[in-house]
């Protein structure tokens, strides 16, 4: 393996029903940023796609930063198969020798990337949250890949010095998409691939939709919790929660007043939770409530009373009326999500 032979930034394009997965667009954006960060490398951003898609989709890839798209075409490849994808991508990697290969850390990506990395006999770093070229060597294409470990308690910066391609999966929602530029026209290298002799021992028999299952607040990453201070306006909490991707919980006072069911009670006589974020709305912070949530990673508290004990355990406190702030927060997030990209 001669490292000098490897070049360019490759991005795996995940797609479904002729739509590009947001995560892949984010990776294209990141690849673009890396390219522009080290112009001396003169690297191209190359999108890699398997399956059968429309021309519009191929144009979109270019508009989102792909200098070239390697399109491995077969009408049976829209359905993911570990065997087929690994084989074909390995072949492509042998032929084209990418220096860097970025794959989204989706369920598909996390199935494919380790298999492919092992097939290519190279290293793989999972769940990157930050990428940068070697800051100590301005002409190097060595990637410094930062990622969380130990349940997010520790961050590590990983490098792969001896093997190529440098492969990493990247968390969806972390990198930035490139502003859409329809003026950009990339090159498309289409290849009709054959699946002859590649019998897949795994087959997909059925696809089922996910129901909305009963929520276990102890498993939620983000909780928006309401106390006496929100009265009967839990609908405002729900709206905000839906916008953020959070779950709703309540204090004992809220449960006693019938605003929310007992299953969602946090505290001494309810559940103990340790989410990444606990947003306490109109909750004073009595000892019995704290017992159930003070181990949360990050606590945001909103309360009218500046002396409310909840502020003593919060990472950040906002003095004010949660019923006024929450709808505005919902709006802020909606605006942010829908901002022109």
């Amino acid at each position: 393996m001669n490292i000098q032979d490897y070049k360019d930034l490759y991005v795996f394009i995940e797609h479904e029903e002729n739509k590009i997965h947001e995560a892949s667009l984010e990776l294209l954006g990141e690849a673009r940023r890396l390219k522009e960060d080290r112009p001396s490398l003169n690297y191209q951003v190359v999108a890699v796609l398997l399956g059968e898609v429309s021309e519009d989709l191929l144009f979109e890839l270019a508009a989102r930063g792909a200098d070239e798209t390697v399109y491995l075409h077969h009408n049976k490849l829209n359905e993911y198969s570990t065997l087929h994808y690994t084989h074909l991508l390995h072949q492509m990697i042998e032929e084209r020798k990418p220096d860097i290969f970025l794959i989204p850390a989706t369920v598909l990506g996390r199935d494919l990337a380790p298999r492919l990395a092992a097939r290519c006999d190279t290293g793989l770093t999972a769940d990157a949250t930050k990428l940068e070229f070697d800051p100590e060597n301005p002409d190097s294409s060595l990637l410094y890949v930062t990622r969380p470990a130990f349940g997010g308690n520790l961050f590590g910066t990983i490098i792969n010095e001896t093997k190529r391609p440098q492969m990493t999966t990247i968390r969806p929602g972390v990198m930035d998409k490139m502003q859409r530029n329809p003026a950009l026209t990339g090159k498309v290298s289409m290849q009709d691939v054959s699946l002859d002799g590649l019998k897949d021992p795994v087959s997909i028999l059925e696809v089922l939709k996910k129901d909305h299952m009963a929520v276990d607040i102890a498993k939620a990453d983000i909780l928006i919790s309401g106390g006496r201070g929100v009265g009967d306006r839990f609908d405002l909490l729900r709206e905000c929660a839906d916008m953020i991707g959070a779950e709703v919980a309540g204090s004992r006072a809220a449960v006693d007043e019938g605003r929310i069911e007992k299953d969602y009670q946090v505290g001494q006589t309810g559940k103990t939770v340790k989410p990444k974020v606990y947003i306490a709305c109109g909750i004073s912070g009595a000892v019995q409530h704290l017992a159930g949530m003070e181990k949360s990673d990050y606590i945001i508290a909103i309360n009218k009373d500046p002396d409310a004990p909840i502020f003593q355990v919060a990472n950040i406190g906002l003095v004010g009326n949660a019923l006024e702030i929450l709808p505005l927060l919902t709006k802020e997030i909606r605006n942010y999500r829908e901002r022109p990209s």
Binding site: T157, K210, N315, L318, G320
Partner: protein, 263 residues
């Protein structure tokens, strides 16, 4: 009789970890060790198959000598055989080197199904399962949250994706990675605890596997850790009095800055 091999890892309980703010490192001393939850759930799934239709369940772990304590617990849960792959030469391995080592051992024993947990709570990579499957040239199915049926010819499972489930079938032998939701682990049985410490634990070293230094341990790891650091968490709160609109904007900032919500 069906042979099921379960791969398990002894890990620190990361929910109980504390951070040394001065050194920017984790305080590992005094943190209890547990069996990785995804792996334990996978073992429970294997034990349920054993209860229902009969099977031999072998537990394999790669780790330092203290991992033996975990194997005793696995005996108390109902494992039939426990193997510890341990050698100073295997230390410092990344997932590639780990899979190499595991694969080399597994290639020497009979199996129909290999179960690995989806990911370990310390490394959080979810790579060892698929990489071991690659070394053994086995079909893989990841993110399994239910085993629907299993025989020596085929296995049928449910896979949980982000927005849907898929029912997949694979020829055997194969490797699956399991989510912790696949099964609620049982408690140890007191009678089995009494017997657990008298059962043999097979220890496999590099004497047995004869792997080359370049393929194992730190030397065999293509990825290396350049540095580690911890995240700053302030616990003395800023209490701000802001107009509602500004308060909302501030909360959004906090959520984005800390990457609590995606972009």
């Amino acid at each position: 009789m069906m042979n099921i091999v379960v791969l398990l890892k002894q890990v620190p309980d990361t929910t109980e970890m504390k951070i040394d703010k001065e050194k920017g490192t984790l305080i590992r001393a005094g943190v209890p060790t547990i069996t990785n939850p995804d792996d334990l759930a996978g073992l429970e799934a294997a034990l349920q198959i054993k209860d229902r239709q009969g099977a031999k369940v072998t537990c394999v772990t790669m780790g330092p000598p203290q991992a033996e304590s975990m194997l005793r617990e696995l005996y108390a849960l109902g494992a039939d055989e426990c193997v510890l792959i341990s050698d100073g030469k295997f230390g410092g391995a990344d997932t590639w080197a780990t899979s190499n080592t595991l694969g080399a051992y597994l290639a020497t024993i009979p199996y129909d199904l290999i179960i690995a947990g989806r990911q370990a709570i310390d490394g959080d990579t979810a790579q060892v399962g698929p990489q071991t499957a690659e070394k053994l040239n086995l079909p893989q199915i990841t993110y399994v949250d239910e085993i629907l049926s299993i025989s020596e010819e085929k296995i049928r499972v449910r896979k949980a994706l982000e927005n849907r489930y898929e029912i997949l079938e694979s020829e055997m032998p194969c490797l699956i990675t399991t989510l912790s939701s696949i099964a609620k682990p049982r408690y140890m049985h007191v009678r089995e605890i009494m017997k657990a410490f008298d059962k043999p634990v097979t220890v496999i070293t590099n004497e047995h596997l004869q792997l080359e230094q370049k393929d194992i341990g730190l030397k065999g790891s293509p990825t290396k850790v350049k540095k580690t650091f911890t995240k700053e968490v302030h616990k003395n709160s800023d209490v701000l009095t802001l107009e509602p609109k500004l308060a909302a904007a501030k909360i959004l900032d906090v959520l984005l800055e800390n990457q609590f919500i995606g972009k």
